[in-house]
């Protein structure tokens, strides 16, 4: 571990032009089956970032699986989001030379607080604090969604292969289900519903695609960083809002539609305040249904990685057994939408 700390420390000193760097603290951070995240506190002498500095180094885990963006791609997305004014860690330096640590990695600033969803959902916030947090989440997404294709630095992100990102998703998930092989009548039924009820697409924008409680850092009631950009894609703005509001990410607080924290209307209001765009709540509800299907697909694929022997893991195996939860939520939610509840 300490050899790795020295490796990163030397790299950072070189990049920042510091005369010397002393490691004060180094630890592996929790979260991320595909990436390793390390917290590294350095005392730097001279250079562009002198003094005591807290960094996060993110690199592929040795068993890394290329199902999402590569670290260099993620770094470019993070740069684009940071430039657009989204509250993210500041992306600092990318190292593509695997001679240095054995893996591709990048360095960013470390945000204060915690991303723990349970802690956040259970927090004793006032109604006003909840409103402010949720409006802030809407504002962050509005800033991110100002990034539109084409972007020179984001050419690796494929554009949706039809005019309607929702229908592209439906086609993609049908292919996934076919590959998985296990029969899932409820998911097939939900995909038909999604195909038949696709709303008019919004503009194609840069979406985070994993924007949910647990993937942003909070320091008390202040958002300090939006994390985990490896699923970013060009898509419909409502996909990000729908994912945040999806029942699976309310962590037991089903009554608080926006991430288990607050009201969906506040999310839409926060979004409108920054973007001037009033999103259709019905379109967000539609993308919540899509989110349940997508999460079910991810869970099935994770279980598949376990069963194929690619990555034997109790956690992945148990995730596969969660699919029935998404399926009952789909049955309930689609019926509620039809009843206009």
């Amino acid at each position: 571990m300490s050899a790795l700390a020295d490796t990163f420390s030397t790299f950072i000193a070189g990049q920042s032009g510091a005369r010397s760097a002393r490691v004060i603290d180094f630890d592996k951070l929790s979260g991320g089956a595909i990436q390793d995240n390390f917290g590294l506190t350095l005392e730097l002498e001279g250079g562009t970032r002198p003094g005591i500095q807290e960094f996060v180094v993110r690199q592929d885990a040795p068993s890394g699986v290329a199902e999402s963006l590569s670290r260099p791609q993620e770094f470019r997305v993070l740069e684009a989001a940071f430039k657009a004014g989204v509250t993210t860690p500041e992306p600092l330096w990318l190292c593509e030379d695997t001679e240095i640590s054995g893996q591709v990695f990048y360095v960013m600033t470390r945000a204060a607080g915690s991303a723990s969803p349970r802690k956040l959902v259970k927090a004793d916030f006032t109604e006003e604090q909840r409103r402010n947090i949720v409006r802030r989440l809407g504002a962050e997404l509005a800033r991110l969604h100002t990034v539109k294709p084409p972007q020179e630095s984001l050419q690796f992100l494929a554009l949706p292969d039809s005019d309607n990102p929702a229908l592209s998703r439906v086609a993609l998930y049908r292919r996934y289900l076919e590959e998985i092989g296990e029969p899932h009548p409820v998911l097939e039924w939900a995909l038909n519903w999604l195909e038949d009820h696709a709303p008019e697409p919004g503009p194609t924008v840069l979406c985070h695609c994993d924007f949910r409680t647990g993937n942003y850092m909070m320091d008390d009631d202040q958002l300090t960083a939006v994390l985990d950009w490896e699923f970013a894609a060009w898509s419909d703005p409502c996909e990000d809002l729908g994912w945040l509001c999806c029942r699976s990410w309310r962590f037991g607080r089903d009554d608080r539609e926006a991430g288990g924290i607050g009201d969906k209307q506040d999310l839409l209001d926060g979004y409108r305040e920054v973007s001037g765009v009033g999103l259709d709540p019905a379109a967000v509800s539609y993308w919540e249904v899509m989110a349940l299907v997508r999460w079910a697909m991810i869970a099935l694929q994770q279980a598949g990685r376990h069963m194929s022997g690619e990555q034997r893991s109790l956690e992945l195996a148990l995730t596969g057994r969660m699919v029935a939860q998404m399926e009952i939520d789909l049955l309930n939610q689609i019926e509620e939408l039809e009843d206009g509840r």
Partner: protein, 121 residues
């Protein structure tokens, strides 16, 4: 022949020891792992219980009867893959309350094993 106590009893007792005596002594990642193990054992126990109560054959029969009523005979194929295929091919009306009841039945059967707490009371 299988010795007594039978496997469901063994699993139940082992899970209880894990939860009552082992897990409270653990913290952090190890505690999380112990709870995951207890969760997996709980699923295996409930799956054995459901088998004793005639599953998954009973649910399979329900699906089979539903398809047969719509002249969608299931031959060698198991009923659930047949249902999934017919839905994908748009051979059924997605709004049909009987279809939704069958889908619910299938899902609830899985939840009784995987996560009974998620079923509505």
């Amino acid at each position: 022949m299988i010795n007594q106590p039978e496997s469901r009893d063994l699993l139940t007792e082992a899970r209880q020891v894990l939860l009552d005596s082992v897990a409270p002594e653990l913290a952090g990642e190890r505690k999380y792992q112990a709870l995951m193990i207890a969760n997996a054992m709980g699923m295996a126990i409930r799956e054995l219980e459901q088998r004793e109560q005639g599953e998954p054959e009973e649910t399979d029969q329900t699906v089979r009867a539903f398809l047969a009523e719509r002249s969608l005979a299931v031959t060698s194929e198991e009923a659930e893959p047949a249902l999934a295929r017919v839905i994908r091919e748009r051979g059924l009306d997605g709004a049909d309350p009987a279809l939704r009841a069958v889908l619910r039945r299938l899902t609830e059967a899985r939840l009784r094993i995987n996560n009974p707490g998620y079923l509505k009371p």
